[in-house]
Amino acid sequence: MKYDVVIAGGGLAGLMSGIALAREGRSVAIISFGDSALHFSSGSLEMWNDAEGALNSVAANHPYAIVGTQHLDRYSRITKDIFASAGEQLKGEYGCNHLRISPVGVLKPAWLTFDDYFVFDPKMTDGGGVVVVGIDGYLDFYPDFIADGLRRKGVECDVASVSLPELERLRESATEMRSVGISRLLKGDAVERLAHQMAPLVHGAQMVIMPAVFGLGDVDGRQRIERVVGCPVRVAPTASISVAGVRAQKKLVEEFRGLGGTYILGDKVVSCRIEDGRVVGVRSHNHGDVEFVAKDFILAMGSFFSRGLVATPEEIYEPTFGAAVVCAEKREAWCAERILEAQPFQRYGVRVDGNLRVEIDGSVVENLYAVGSIVAGADAVKEGCGAGVVVATALMAAEQILGKELDVKEMN
């Protein structure tokens, strides 16, 4: 099978590269081993904990330094545009973080956030109360934690709880009452019944916050509740599966396919053929002797969680292409003793050159680019740069392959 570009990995990184390339008319295949970490999205993309400060002084081997911080504003706009084309609006912009709320009520800086999610606005302190509405028996969302977080910011906050017979039934299942199950049931008149139950509980509030369980039932569930209760309804992240993340993943895959892309799920690259310093083809588990041939290849397999990187008692390696990895040699140096300290392994990943190309057997491969969390040098947890590094490297690799800068569409 012949393509212009073959991408190993179908999460946010692979999809952003894939969509950017397909938009420019390239034929692209994405091979994804299972579904991605987007399924655990907080509802926000983060770029840097402190947007005003340290970004310009990142270490020389940080992915942002390789990409060039001067490009981040542009990549930011392209990211919003790609999400918007897929049908998912993001709010926020480069250079000015807003505060999102975590499932346990901690306000954290974020760069771009799904439109339906709650973000903190300082004006809320004098605008009347906020009511956090939970669902009876649903243990992946903690209204009291969220309310506490907001009270610490000076917002008047109450909690309430609602229930429906069909939601109650979920508690009988061994899979329990989870975001996905709730989301599927929020359709038709269930939404109205829920809204009418909420209305007296949230009367006079400036805003209602609910768990992020909208998207797999009726697409306009949240808006319909808004109309009944008469004030804005925003959502906050839940534990476990992120319904908004599932929704975004589906929309991005649909967008990619709509542009002519081939998205292959449940398969992985198992070997590659390199000739004269270039990858000429890869083989996958499912397709056996039918080789994927392409001009360029992208490694977007993610980090340890998705097995883009593998750690054994002896070594850390990149199993897909056998690319060179940056890590400490001695195992004792991989982890810090205390779990909340900066963990050295967070920065481990594939070594890339100034064009994001990887190294195999001591030499740079001309047409194999690494993007996303597999690239060495960033500590997504401590720096709050997970999604930022993903989209910046993904879009830069697309530009390297296209040999030109991507257009920025101005949005209103």
């Binding site: 299972g34 299942s173 899979t175 499912n286 397709h287 039918v290 969680f305 097995r307 593998v310 054994t312």
Partner: protein, 419 residues
């Protein structure tokens, strides 16, 4: 390079599960039946307990469709569907119901039914008969039964084709399966037509048995294993003669390649790579330039492709759609990849009928919304389900190819000399 991840996986690799719950998002049964324990609980979670004490076996596992969509979604490579299938085989009902035995023995029932096909077809279509079957055997009366052919594919082949096939320099072995043999011999005839046009003669196995997909699903592991051993020995003979084995059914293909090893525990590594779906076999030859296809100029079709669960697991829908897209007069629309709800014999059972139709509903609606007359799919039971539940006619991609190719021109392009 040493593959550490391969060496630290236990035989039933439930220990690879990170409890991420992504599988529960994509389980079609969980979507319509919240009381099904779900793939994570039924698979890796439950396995921990069952290993300690079989009494932890949950009867809810009977709701698993064996669609494998959980495995396709799993980022950790856990063979969730296999774990559930094995648990069902080990802990499920020891003496299966007569109904389940009949539904699972597609080969035995098929060989009897084809002898008296007109009677069977008429009888199975009668409302009173359906009521009786519903009441006595719990086969749902709303279900339309597949028609049986009056002449088996193998009979037709041996009478009319077997001799001429030997004239071809290149040979391929066809695993026809129960469906092409008993229900729809035209599919087998279509494959012979296409393969002959590109210069391949078709051979059948001496003693092909049912692939066993329905028996595995019904827990008839002993019967399935016996058939599988016979098939494996026939497959080895074909491979020894230098032939590849092709099938027109995605579920047969998947069973021969993966279930024999994963569920029945039979060694098939020596022949696995020689088993292919017919569309994959053809695509490879077209892509390598070994064969060429010419199409009729007057052929026009607007069709929607439905990706059956087992083709999704194989990852091979791309071969069928790529071939269909080569047809100049074809407008091909991709349907969203989802289970149609039939899951082999699952949807025939009275207690499952409503779940079956609820699972397929969004697919049926989409087909009607598109207004397509033809749905293309590689699975025969999806065909029954979609034809019963929509106004569309369903064809295997091979049958569409057979209709679309210009046989004379294709033969010329491939230097096939008149026999």
């Amino acid at each position: 390079m040493k593959k550490y991840e391969d060496s630290n996986v236990s035989a039933n690799n439930f220990d690879q599960c990170t409890k991420c719950t992504i599988c529960t998002v994509y389980c079609p049964m969980l979507e319509v039946n919240p009381l099904y324990p779900g793939p994570k609980q039924s698979g890796p979670d439950g396995e921990r307990y069952r290993l300690k004490e079989p009494k932890y076996y949950d009867m809810g596992l009977k709701y698993c469709l064996n669609c494998k969509r959980c495995e396709v979604a799993c980022p950790s490579g856990v063979r969730i569907g296999d774990i559930i299938a094995l648990a069902k085989a080990k802990n499920g009902r020891k003496v299966p119901k007569l109904r389940d035995v009949m539904l699972a023995n597609t080969d035995f029932v098929g060989s009897v039914a084809t002898v008296v096909a007109p009677v069977v077809n008429t009888t199975l279509g009668l409302r009173p008969v359906k009521r009786v079957m519903d009441a006595t055997m719990a086969i749902d009366h709303r279900r339309t039964f597949p028609k049986y052919a009056s002449e088996k594919f193998t009979t037709w082949f041996r009478r009319n084709m077997a001799e001429s096939q030997k004239e071809f320099a290149k040979q391929v072995c066809y695993f026809h399966g129960c469906y092409a043999n008993y229900n729809y011999p035209q599919l087998g005839k279509d494959l012979v037509k296409v393969l002959n046009a590109v210069g391949y003669g078709v051979r059948l196995m001496e003693g092909e048995r049912c692939c066993g997909v329905a028996k595995i699903a019904s827990g008839l592991i002993g019967d399935a294993t016996r058939d599988a051993r016979r098939n494996l020995s026939e497959m080895r003979k074909a491979v020894a003669e230098g032939m590849e084995i092709v099938a027109t059914s995605s579920s047969c293909t998947f069973t021969l390649r993966d279930e024999y090893d994963h569920v029945l525990g039979l060694e098939n590594g020596d022949v696995r790579d020689s088993v292919s779906l017919a569309t994959r076999f053809l695509f490879r030859l077209v892509e390598s330039g070994e064969i060429r296809l010419a199409f009729r100029e007057d052929f026009r079709m607007r069709a929607a492709y439905h990706s059956a669960c087992h083709i999704e697991k194989l990852g091979w829908g791309i071969y069928s759609t790529s071939l269909l897209k080569m047809i100049p007069g074809m407008e091909l629309i991709m349907l969203p990849s989802q289970c149609c709800g039939i899951a082999g014999t699952f949807g025939f059972k009275k207690e499952n009928y409503d779940y079956s139709q609820a699972i397929g509903r969004p697919l049926f609606d989409r087909i009607e919304e598109l207004g397509v007359e033809i749905v293309a799919t590689d699975c025969e039971t999806c065909k029954w389900q979609i034809e019963m539940s929509t106004s569309a006619k369903v064809l295997n991609p091979i049958s569409i190819l057979a209709e679309a190719i210009d046989v004379e021109k294709t033969r010329e392009l491939n230097n096939v000399i008149d026999l």
